[in-house]
Amino acid sequence: MIGYALRRLAVTLPVLVVISFGTFWAAGEISSPTAQLTLNPRISPEAKQDYVELLGLDRPLHVQYGKWLGNFVTGDFGTSLVRNGQDVWPFVERALANTLLLVAAAVSLSLLIGLAVGVVSAIRRGSLWDYGSVTVSFLGVSIPVFWLGLMLQLFFGLYLANWLGVGPPLLPTAGIYSPGQQGFDLLDRVRHLVLPTLALSLQLVAVYSRYMRASMLEVMSADYIRTARSKGLRESRVVVRHGMRSALVPVTTQVAIDIGQLVGGLIVTERVFQYPGMGLLFLDALEGGDYTILLPTVMIAAVVVFALNLVADLLYGVLDPRVRLGRDRRVARNV
């Protein structure tokens, strides 16, 4: 398993290097660091030259990249040009923590709901519930996140409160703390997490429930489910311990792989709900032309996505003893 992980890492690392180089190049194109200098007419040519040499901008691109990569992997994120020389890392650290919390909340909630919906749909295949959940799933993947976010804000912030005749909004529509809040307040923090989590979750619930339904349908027609029933087990045990146990294997890995697809929705969600995470930091850096923040933000996202893919692979081996990692995974697909 460790050997397999290392092999996978050996394959992943070059891909990460290519991605990081692409990001480095693209970030330079989007927000040329030299533009920051040349556009200030009052900086003397000598001072500009000093900056250029300090940043290594006069070197070939691959040399600049090598220098940046070296700093990045050693945790030296440098300082922000646009933010007037402030250290980059504290911004990234804070945003990363917020985003991880949001993603964890959304994925947990979505798994809980999505898997349950999927299981019930599968064992009540063809029922009203099943058709209903198919319809809702379809909506879930088709509704744009920004629209959903806005509707959630309107519903929980405005309509529901108006309808109930209560004054303040039931849930805060943006931010992570109430305005004026000083210090940490768990309840306030959680209340602010609810709507972004919901917005991010609908699509996930839709996708997870579809995965789970398909996987459960396949599993529940398997011979060993019949065996389990023939043993006189309670149906709940048959479904949960025998059916779900197997159905979860492909779903779990799919979920880990799908984390990468969260990125787009995450950026929109963070924007709509003014949630100060990586997505918002990315947008701010993009709009502000701050490549010093743009680069680590994109790179960390890429690393996380790749790491999760690796985890997904390793997880497969943990969850399904039949899989000898590094060999054929398809055996396990036919659980």
């Binding site: 029933r229 043993k231 006189g232």
Partner: protein, 338 residues
């Protein structure tokens, strides 16, 4: 063991299937997998149900325990009486009590029949603990004993194996161990050896025979292999196209088949003293069970068939009266005489 008077049809049986009708929905239409099947399994006997694949014998076995495919299969008529209790009318809870504890089942392919992600010992433990309030460690000791009983070497270590780590024969032994864990009154074995190599088949059958001898149960053996029946069963029921065509003591049926299908099967069975080229095959193919032909379903393939056979479904009858064999053929007399 084989008490003659018990073999008489109609005597109080342990498990009695009466006029069972089972339907299965398929993409092409509804199949009547069992069409008025009646059979009796008495205490302490081995009854083999023999037939070609697709004749409905597996669905018959599944019908008994209510294990038909949930969305597509259903019992539309008849009764399954276990100790006089109609299982087709039993509540799910009651069925669960009976499954495993009173009537256990061994499936054809242990690779797919055992849960791939559960250690084999745990699968047996689960069976025990589903019916008896025993502690996990006690149940585990019993599981290891059972594995030992079915002839698995080093059972303590093997209990911790996953099914894919065992050979096919070992897996089938695990299946057997699990099925007999609670000493069930009836053991339904659905093609228990089909998926195995020929040499392993014999070992597993031997194990099954030994276990059935040790335990106080009856066995309903579902097979397509007359060879297996000969060495193992007390009585045999021959199934064709969803119907039982002949039923009786193995020796009687073997010695003097009354139904042309039985005769055909026996004729096509390889024997040690076979002269090469003598092997016969039954011409034609079995009819579709979606819209079976009227009258006798074997008639289109039958050398004895008359116009009557294509029109009138033959009644199941005892013939001759003293042979203990029931047969559903208009021309049983001619076949039996042949």
């Amino acid at each position: 063991m084989n008490v003659p008077d018990r073999r008489i049809p109609g005597a109080a049986a342990l498990l009695s299937v009466r006029g069972l009708r089972t339907e299965i929905d398929t993409e092409n239409g509804t199949v009547t997998a069992a069409d008025g099947v009646s059979l009796d399994l008495h205490g302490d006997e081995v009854l083999a149900v023999v037939g070609e694949s697709g004749c409905g014998k597996t669905m018959l076995a599944l019908s008994i325990l209510g294990l038909l495919p949930r969305r597509t299969g259903r019992i539309t008529g008849g009764q399954v009486l276990f100790r006089g209790e109609d299982l087709t009318q039993a509540t799910p809870a009651r069925l669960r009590e009976i499954r495993g504890a009173d009537i256990a089942m061994i499936f054809q392919d242990a690779l797919t029949g055992l849960h791939p992600l559960q250690r084999v010992g745990d699968q047996i433990v689960e069976m025990i603990r589903a019916h008896e309030p025993v502690r996990r460690d006690a149940a585990r000791r019993r599981a290891v004993d059972l594995l030992d009983l079915v002839g698995i070497p080093d059972p303590d270590r093997r209990a911790a194996s996953f099914p894919h780590e065992l050979s096919g024969g070992m897996r089938q032994r695990v299946m057997i161990a699990m099925a007999v864990a609670l000493d069930p009154a009836v053991l339904i074995a659905d093609e228990p050896t089909t998926a195995l190599d020929v040499t392993v088949q014999a070992q597993v059958l031997e194990t099954l025979a030994r276990i059935s001898g040790d335990l106080n149960g009856s066995i309903l053996l579902i097979t397509h292999d007359f060879g297996v029946v000969a060495g193992f069963a007390d009585r045999v029921a021959v199934m064709y196209a969803g119907r039982l065509v002949e039923q009786g003591p193995v020796a009687e049926v073997y010695g003097r088949p009354r139904h042309p299908y039985t005769a055909g099967l026996l004729a096509s069975m390889p024997r040690i003293d076979d002269i090469p080229g003598r092997l016969e095959r039954i011409a034609g193919t079995p009819p579709s069970l979606i819209s079976p032909p009227p009258g006798c379903r074997f008639a289109p393939r039958c050398g004895f068939a008359t116009d009557l056979c294509g029109e009138l479904t033959p009644q199941t009858r005892l013939w001759p009266a003293d042979g203990g064999v029931t047969v559903a053929c208009h021309h049983a007399e001619r076949v039996g005489a042949g």
